[in-house]
């Protein structure tokens, strides 16, 4: 099924931010916003919840640390206990460094791959071509059709006071 969307293009983050807020107040549905760089405050303007990737990071980190600690102790003291310089079997201090590195490694990779997962990014993925120059100098606000009065003229009217460069309507599948 296809739906109509309005695509408003701006050339400065301030306009975009203001517009976004206004549009949401109007009760219009913001499908997405495309910007050349991370515009601060946009997430609030769009009303995005804080990402849960932090937890992924934490869990991976813990897994790395604990897993490695256990592995070190198991290899050195349980599977084949070997006397090294008369050091004790339970040697937490000397196990710490590697455990820490393992934590960092797992946390880092876990988080990044989680990002690729949730953001649907993979090598060779083709982005939609409909928003030109969003990776250069254009800020694009995409408004989706809702039951609320989705009236092209009025929306455009509203956006002009935010120095919108252009507003166009499209059908998206």
């Amino acid at each position: 099924m296809s739906s109509r969307v309005l695509i408003a293009t701006f050339d400065h983050e301030d306009d975009l931010l203001a517009a976004t807020t206004a549009v949401r107040e109007r009760g219009l549905r913001i499908m997405d916003v495309y910007t050349p760089y991370a515009v601060h405050g946009l997430d609030r303007a769009m009303g995005l919840k804080p990402s849960r990737l932090t937890w992924v990071c934490f869990v991976c980190g813990m897994a790395g640390a604990l897993g490695m600690l256990w592995f070190e102790h198991w290899t050195a003291a349980i599977d084949w206990p070997i006397d090294v310089g008369g050091k004790p079997w339970f040697a937490l201090p000397s196990d710490a460094p590697v455990a820490f590195e393992a934590a960092v490694l797992l946390a880092g990779f876990g988080t990044v791959f989680a990002l690729f997962g949730v953001a649907r990014m993979w090598p060779g993925k083709q982005p939609r071509k409909i928003y030109p120059r969003t990776t250069d100098d254009r800020f694009v606000l995409v408004i989706g059709e809702t039951n609320a009065a989705f009236d092209v003229q009025s929306v455009e009217q509203m956006l002009t006071k935010y120095d919108v460069l252009k507003v166009e309507e499209q059908l998206v599948t």
Partner: protein
């Protein structure tokens, strides 16, 4: 809303640019043919690299004996270079991660290059522990993998093993950090470049980045997390490197001050290297508008403070040796300052503590040539620091009967030069194929002026 021009801080990007200017300025050098200057630098680096390759091949084919080591001095150039390069690497992460956490916007100009530098420096560093082995082809024995020997695992109590994990983790995380930072810019290049292999490659690399605010939102989180991980990682890595010595029993190595001492030294040397590179890049890639004197000035201040920190560490070592009252310890430090390797020691002190003091003067900080020279001097000094720690401690230890000397052979020197070859070759290639400056971040951080009189484009009407 606040106009960026009214802020008291000097602007991060000078020359009244628009967003598209920024994009163009940074991307165009890549599209252009390389300059003669680039070719010159590149051919020299490759020559050096080849020299290194030859030296290492000869050494691995013949034996470690082709180095000047002996029964008493078991490490010298090899590990010195290793620590030296790891140290260089650290400033990269420091600048990109730590300054990011501290919301230092000026970092955006240099962080990309700094991260790349980290990557290549760590690559150079990683080579030395590998080739310093008597039987490098068995290096994989350092990895705890299931085997038919019992299985026989590895010694997790050995600082060298900690090194293996620290360095490889550091390399991987730095690479990821760098790559994630590159994603939006890769997309920018993809969109700038005309359809063709170039475009295909970049669209493959940028994982279909489309600048969606939702992605940006998550992306920011991840980047923050990575920065948060990378920061302790840097400190841990050099702490562990320092433990190669600190956990040993050899007087002059066995010192609890080493972790902070080494970290400070690492950052110090790293900053020096970043400065060196940035000053060159600025000229060669004509990026004066992005790497402004203000950046240089900040780096100099940081470097100066690190220099003083390092100086403090040297002083503390001597004091502890004297105060600790251990004859062996005291001897080692006297021997450093007045023994056969005094020349190395004093070179170190002058280069690391003496000369950087010039940076107290604004005029010095303002003059790029001077800063450049000082940066080089610091690099030299920091190399000697590691040399002094390793060689002077080893060559005269407990029993006078086995006291020995040390002098490098051609092979060692060639290998050392080779590592520089590798580093610069990688860096020059990087300058050609990836944006040296984080486009998206500059745009975000610069908070450019809104272009006057927005020209409305036709087409909005047609919507009706």
């Amino acid at each position: 809303m606040p106009d960026s021009t009214t802020t008291l801080r000097p602007p991060l990007v000078t020359g009244d640019k628009t967003l598209s200017d920024v994009t163009r300025d940074i991307c165009e050098p890549m599209a252009r043919r390389p300059t003669a200057l680039w070719w010159g630098a590149f051919s020299i680096s490759v020559a050096a690299l080849l020299m290194g390759v030859v030296a290492v091949t000869y050494q691995i084919a013949t034996g470690i004996g082709v180095w000047g080591l002996n029964k008493t001095v078991g490490w010298a150039f090899d590990i010195t270079n290793f620590v030296f390069w790891v140290g260089i690497g650290h400033a990269g992460t420091l600048i990109s991660a730590v300054l990011f956490l501290f919301r230092q916007k000026w970092r955006t100009a240099v962080n990309r290059a700094a991260e790349a530098m980290t990557l290549f420096a760590v690559m150079c560093a990683g080579i030395f522990p590998l080739i310093h082995m008597g039987r490098p082809w068995l290096a994989f024995w350092m990895m705890p993998y299931p085997n038919t020997r019992g299985p026989l695992w590895v010694n997790f109590k050995s600082p060298l093993l900690w090194d293996v994990f620290a360095i490889s983790t550091y390399l991987l995380i730095s690479a990821v950090f760098w790559y994630v930072g590159l994603l939006p810019d890769l997309a920018t290049i993809r969109d700038r470049s005309a359809p063709g292999w170039r475009r295909r490659i970049f669209s493959l690399l940028c994982l279909g980045w489309d600048g969606s605010a939702r992605t940006w939102h998550r992306y920011e989180t991840v980047y923050l997390l990575l920065a948060g991980l990378a920061t302790p990682l840097v400190f841990s890595v050099h702490t562990i490197v320092s433990m190669d010595f600190a956990t040993a029993v050899i007087p002059g190595w066995h010192a609890t001050i080493f972790p902070p001492y080494f970290v400070a030294g690492a950052i110090f040397s790293g900053l020096a290297m970043v400065l060196t590179l940035m000053i060159i890049a600025r000229k060669v890639m004509s990026l004066e508008d992005y790497i402004t004197p203000m950046h240089i000035d900040r780096m100099c201040k940081l470097m100066l403070s690190m220099g003083c920190l390092v100086g403090l560490a040297y002083g503390t070592e001597f004091f502890i040796a004297f105060y600790g009252g251990n004859g062996f310890e005291q001897f080692v430090f006297l021997n450093r300052a007045f023994g056969p390797f005094a020349w190395a020691y004093w070179t170190m002190v002058v280069c690391n503590v003496g000369i950087p003091q010039l940076l107290w003067f604004r005029r010095v900080r303002a003059s790029l040539p001077l800063v450049f020279v000082i940066a080089i001097v610091v690099n030299i000094g920091m190399w000697f620091e590691r040399f002094v720690i390793i060689v002077t401690s080893l060559h005269r230890d407990f029993l006078p009967s086995s006291w020995a000397g040390y002098a490098p052979t051609i092979v060692e020197i060639a290998t050392f030069i080779g590592s520089f070859g590798l580093f610069f070759t990688c860096f020059l290639i990087f300058c050609r194929i990836a944006p040296v400056i984080a486009i998206a971040e500059v745009k975000g951080a610069a908070h450019l002026k809104k272009p006057h009189a927005p020209q409305r484009e036709s087409g909005a009407e047609k919507a009706a």
